[in-house]
Amino acid sequence: MSSSRAVDPWIRRSADPKLDRIMVTPEGVPLNVTIASAGARAGALLLDLVFIQIISTVIALLCQTLAFFFMAGGADFLDMDGPLGFVGIFYFIANFLLLNGYFIYFELGHRSATWGKRLVGIRVASRDGSRLTAEAIIARNIVRSVELFLPLTFLGSAGAGGTSVDLTTWAGFLWVLMFLLFPLFNKDRLRGGDVIAGTWVIQNVKKNLGDIVAPSAARISADGSPAAARYHFSDAELSVYGEYELQTLENVLRSDQEEALEKVATSIRQKIGWEPGSGDERAFLEAYYTALRARLERSMKFGKRRKDKFAPHE
């Protein structure tokens, strides 16, 4: 699985290659995924806690307003069977659902991500590439009560206890801290809930389909021949570079910045021993790119790949 062709070692996919993984779809095609970093996870969690806090404030305000109106309408404050009782019931149930249902509800959706995770750009996925089930979502979020709410309760009680905090409290606190910091101690950044549910959290990808890299190579120029035909590169002139350089050139062409084009054109001309500066840098680079890619792709068909300019010729 890990020796798949999907990952070309010389292509850097993410900022931290240690987080790159392969997930095999049920069709057997390996897909590249990137684990969400611990920082992204923490950021998403903090955002979610803020959202939960906001919703809980809204619920409390709603209950107070309702209670106020009922009391203004003559309801007895102590009569818990009256409308005030329903406000009370609503309050307890709404808070329970908010604390336990928020994560489950959003992770069951199409994007498998809470609001916080969406903002950070991460999502939950099944570790083995199979379907992400409702059971898995429930399992990973039930464990959250131990990982998150228990440490928070401990912090709260430790703060309230002041100096009377005893040894057992601290021992307990360290113990629950272990759960909170669990993701830092494994390479897949799994928290306890992920271990139990068979899930992991990965980064979202959203790439746009760029244009053809070198469109001008095919364009018909004034004299009726393709523009690429203006330049002829010999085998020797094309064999100085490998795939890494081709990709660098692709990036330069895609970003289309005058300065970079000039610089790269100059250095390529120098390398292959051509006269410097013919004026149309872009046309030259596109022609060279097309010729180089055609050559490398041709040898690719025969299973020969050249990593970069330092790789030996076969």
Partner: protein, 340 residues
């Protein structure tokens, strides 16, 4: 330049490959983007039906591109789109209603039966806890104050009179605010049950301790009432909701033990695989536990206060117990587990 013209003019074979297929990719990307934004209703039936086909075509395009094209931007795009459409094709697709129907239609009872061994372990732990609580308090009534948190009960303490104790069991409590009380009890008990399950993650030991502690409290309370000859009435008072609530806590503890046991002794599977198998099974049980606790909260808040005699309470409590047992033991047997 039209696609056909571009196609014939393209110099590179890998560019021609791309131009031939990009219309399908762009269509798929459009469908995926709409679905991700939750705008499913704006999709035509044709598009929804085309999704799996387009997805598989895309995967084959990706495989070909990886072997034949050196256009890194194109491969990046295909990788990203493949992942996004994979998540939609293999996402959490079942609607909540359908999941719920499957859950009640046998998923839950099958999950409960699957953790039978852990239920027996949890049951024996709970009985042991109650016996320990009873014996400790019987030996030295000071243990009561160690087991039962202060403020939990001012009246129900060792040495309280029969009248005072009987008063806590029958009648005198006014029936105001039963609904609020029920809601409060539910959210409180549910948090305890969730804790009992989640603590199973640490090799089940904390789950077992939690069960013992809660049941020791019950055993101590039982002793207080037994001293005044109110055992039967106390059990009746407890059973009306207790059969459901204790059953739910039993299942939550068993689910925790199940997970903890699988992590400690994974057998032939890897630790992670064993943990996630057990976790998914236990999560189903836990979803049911929450539902049972809603029932228990309603029974405790309303029925206990409204039914004021032991016989009636035993009737309701016993009836509930029978109901759960019949469901767990008998339901959903004939159907096979849906393909996981």
């Amino acid at each position: 330049m039209s696609t056909d013209q571009a196609l014939s003019a393209a110099v590179l074979r890998s560019d021609r490959f791309r131009l031939e297929r990009e219309a399908d990719w762009i269509r798929l990307e459009d469908i995926v983007s709409k679905m991700e934004k939750g705008k499913n209703r704006r999709l035509s039936d044709e598009d929804v039906l085309a999704l799996p086909t387009l997805y598989r075509t895309l995967l084959s395009s990706l495989s070909i591109a990886r072997e034949n094209s050196l256009d890194a931007g194109l491969i990046d795009y295909l990788e990203g789109l493949s992942l996004r459409s994979y998540f939609l094709v293999y996402g959490t697709q079942s609607s909540f209603g359908r999941w719920f129907a499957g859950f009640f239609g046998g998923g839950w009872s099958r999950a409960v039966r699957a953790i039978q061994l852990d239920i027996w372990i949890a049951l024996s732990v709970m009985i042991a806890g109650a016996v320990i609580g009873y014996i400790l308090v019987a030996g030295d009534s000071d243990w009561f104050y160690a087991l039962v948190p202060g403020g939990f009960s001012e009246v129900r303490v060792p040495g309280a009179s029969e009248e005072a104790l009987r008063g806590t069991l029958f009648g005198t409590e006014d029936s105001d605010g039963l609904g609020v009380f029920a809601a409060f009890l539910f959210s409180n008990n549910a948090q305890v049950a969730i804790l009992a399950f989640a603590l199973g993650f640490a090799f089940a030991i904390p789950s077992i301790l939690l069960l013992i502690h809660n049941m020791a409290l019950l055993g101590a309370m039982l002793w207080v009432f037994a001293q005044r000859g109110l055992t039967v009435d106390f059990v009746g008072w407890l059973s009306i909701h207790g059969t459901t609530e204790l059953f739910a806590i039993l299942l939550a503890g068993a689910a925790g033990i199940h997970v903890g046991r699988s992590i400690a002794f994974p057998g032939a599977r890897s630790h992670l695989k064993a943990a996630s198998d057990a976790g998914k099974r236990a999560a189903l049980v836990m979803a049911g536990v929450i539902i049972m606790l809603v029932c228990a909260g309603l029974l405790e808040g309303f029925a206990r206060q409204l039914i004021d005699n032991s016989a009636g309470r035993f009737g309701v409590g016993g009836g509930m117990l029978l109901l759960w047992l019949v469901y767990f033991i008998g339901f959903g047997r004939e159907r096979q587990r849906p393909g996981a």
